[in-house]
């Protein structure tokens, strides 16, 4: 029997009901996918495709008034959507960590870096302030910060964007999460710094065994970092496949559009878009093992 995935998102719908309307507005519709243990899964789509809200729902931190309206998010056998808020805080503190696109605005500008890190340790284990400070310095060293003792005494505004993102990753690792959600962690960073951060994320998985959900709009980042890819468009998943399969044999027209908008994609991206044809009302279909495509019929089936 195959091992259960760490995270199982099952028919998740996110939305809200505007006060003048009877029907709720959905920004994420009927989304299902899994993240296996120690797996790096990429979630890709354009701005507004619902990828960030899907990821935030795992922490039950969708942007108000948006909230999960239907479906289940099962982490390690527990449905997070039905958990009392008290228990949810333990999930956020101990099992799932998230890092965001703009690391500077996720750090407290009035607190020294070392104090922010030390607080993670003092709030999750019985440990003295002095020992927590030492742990903080160790963590800064682990995420590749030169002069960790000096940086620990600095404030966020004194650090560069790349350094702040390293600190964020350090904060996230401090709780030894089973799942790390990284929302556009390198957008806005220079490419050489991006390469450093992506390497750090992969190193993190190797060292801690954490699973990673990586949200990005950059297919290059996906190709180099992830094992499987979930493609979202307009609040729905349009395609799920392994990285190799997605780039070799993209099926959904929207995936093809994304690939074509990216310079340097392999030749397969230039195949005609008539591979699949829209078939409303049908969910994801498994067209090849592990390769799911939304509500679409193979063109050759129609031709028959």
């Amino acid at each position: 029997m195959p091992e259960l995935p760490l995270l199982d998102i099952d028919r998740l719908t996110i939305g809200y009901t505007p006060h003048h309307a009877r029907e709720p507005v959905h920004v994420v519709r009927d989304v299902s996918f899994t993240v296996g243990r120690q797996e790096i899964v990429g979630l890709v789509g354009e701005s507004g495709s619902g990828k960030t809200q899907t990821a935030r729902a795992v922490l039950r931190m969708t942007t108000p008034p948006l909230q999960p309206l239907a479906g289940r998010i099962v982490l390690d056998g527990t449905d997070l959507l039905t958990l009392p808020e008290q228990s949810m805080r333990r999930v956020r503190g101990a099992k799932v960590a998230m890092i965001f696109q703009d690391p500077r605005s996720s750090l407290n500008p009035l607190m020294r870096i070392g104090d922010q890190l030390a607080r993670v340790y003092t709030s999750h284990q019985r440990i003295s302030q002095r020992a927590a400070w030492q742990e903080a310095i160790d963590m800064l060293r682990r995420v590749g910060i030169a002069g960790p003792a000096r940086v620990a005494r600095s404030y966020p505004h004194q650090l560069s964007g790349g350094m702040c993102q390293r600190v964020m990753i350090g904060l996230a690792l401090g709780i030894r999460p089973a799942l790390l959600i990284a929302d556009e962690p390198t957008t806005g960073l220079d490419v050489t710094i991006q390469a450093q951060i992506l390497e750090l994320i992969q190193q993190t998985r190797a060292e801690t065994g954490a699973s990673i959900l990586l949200i990005t709009h950059d297919l290059g980042v996906i190709a180099e970092t992830c094992q499987r890819v979930v493609v979202m468009f307009d609040g729905r998943i349009v395609e799920i496949a392994t990285v190799e399969e997605l780039f070799r044999n993209p099926m959904h027209p929207h995936t093809l559009r994304l690939l074509r908008a990216t310079p340097g994609t392999p030749v397969s991206a230039h195949k005609p878009a008539e591979t699949v044809v829209e078939e409303p009302g049908v969910g994801l279909r498994e067209l090849a093992p592990g390769h799911f495509v939304l509500g679409h019929k193979l063109a050759q089936e129609i031709a028959r």
């Binding site: 701005s47 030169a146 220079d190 050489t192 290059g220 780039f247 559009r257 908008a261």
Partner: protein, 335 residues
């Protein structure tokens, strides 16, 4: 064949006084742009690439060095003397939301340079505006819209139309695709490529996004910490980078093809502060190939095998008349 470059930038430096010292934004940069040529100026944040663009377009005086445009030295000109040249050198900024006047309709935005430089008679204005919009693939009905009523891609097309309205010889494009969505980015690049061919303009394409530079520009200049570290044909820069920094930069670009597994050079640390001027190579302290002499003397440009790739030059001590191969290139590679 034109014997003179359209633009010559010679040993240009730009130093800003800042609290606690001086900031060396651009430190002795030289290059030429020839008529009809598109040149990419690539570098990371703080490398001085935008400052160079602003010096060329006379938006910012240089601290030392000289810039010659169409045979005139512009670095000593006042604004009045430069004004006749302004119609020939235009600039497109990164964010059209900020560079377009929000209170002006598209019509007014585009008419301004045309009337200011007396390119058209007022009664011919409409016909010229229609032409201009058609060139950037915008509907003429957009003439009476204001920037906020346009999408990001449409706004950037208006900014491009404004820049080419006076039929300039040189357009400085300062990260023109950085603020638009992925799918629109390629359309803007395609538009720029078409306009360049139609109007025989030269471009200085300033970007941190190397893959867009690759599709538009024949030559590329790599900047690091206000210095040119390598200059050459774009293909050479991408395929056979010579300077360790160029190699790190090129190998950092994520390749959207999972079958490619390439060796990556990740530089430790970050770009140092431009407040401390370095004597030798700006990469000292981060470079895996560093030697003792690197930090001591200013580095001359070494021209690489002129038969293979003309004008490929690199400011690195690894190269000399006898050593033209990068240390990471396999020895077995036939010449």
């Amino acid at each position: 064949m034109n014997a003179a470059p359209l633009l010559r930038v010679d040993q240009v430096a730009k130093v800003y006084p800042v609290p606690g010292g001086r900031l060396f934004a651009v430190d002795g940069v030289s290059f030429d742009i020839w008529p009809g040529e598109a040149v990419a100026l690539v570098g990371e944040s703080g490398s001085g690439k935008s400052t160079i663009g602003r010096c060329i377009t006379h938006l910012e005086p240089v601290t030392s060095g000289r810039i010659d445009f169409m045979g005139h030295e512009t670095t000593r000109m006042g604004e009045g003397a430069f004004r006749p040249l302004r119609r020939d050198v235009q600039i497109v900024f990164q964010d059209p939301k900020l560079s377009l006047n929000p209170r002006l309709k598209v019509r007014q935005t585009l008419a301004e340079p045309l009337l200011l430089h007396r390119v058209v008679q007022p009664r011919q204005l409409d016909a010229v505006l229609f032409d201009l919009l058609e060139m950037v693939s915008l509907d003429r009905r957009l003439l009476d819209r204001r920037p906020r009523e346009l999408s990001g891609g449409q706004q950037q097309r208006v900014a491009i139309a404004r820049a080419i309205a006076t039929r300039p010889k040189l357009v400085v494009l300062d990260e023109p695709t950085a603020s638009v969505d992925m799918s629109v980015r390629q359309q803007i690049i395609d538009l720029l490529a078409r306009l360049k061919a139609e109007l025989h303009m030269s471009y200085l394409f300033i970007t941190h996004d190397l893959s867009t530079a690759r599709s538009l520009c024949s030559r590329t200049i790599v900047l690091y910490l206000g210095r040119v570290v390598e200059i050459g044909h774009t293909v050479e820069i991408f395929v056979r980078p010579k300077h360790p920094y160029t190699r790190a930069l090129v190998s950092s670009i994520p390749i959207p093809d999972p079958r490619t597994r390439k060796e990556r050079l990740i530089l430790p640390g970050e770009t140092p502060s431009p407040m401390h001027r370095v004597v030798g190579c700006p990469l000292v302290g981060r470079c895996p190939y560093q030697m003792e002499r690197c930090g001591q003397d200013p580095l001359p440009f070494v021209f690489l095998d002129p038969t293979a790739a003309a004008d490929h030059a690199v400011a690195c001590i690894l190269y000399g008349p006898d050593t033209q191969r990068a240390p990471w290139e396999a020895v077995a590679t036939p010449a």
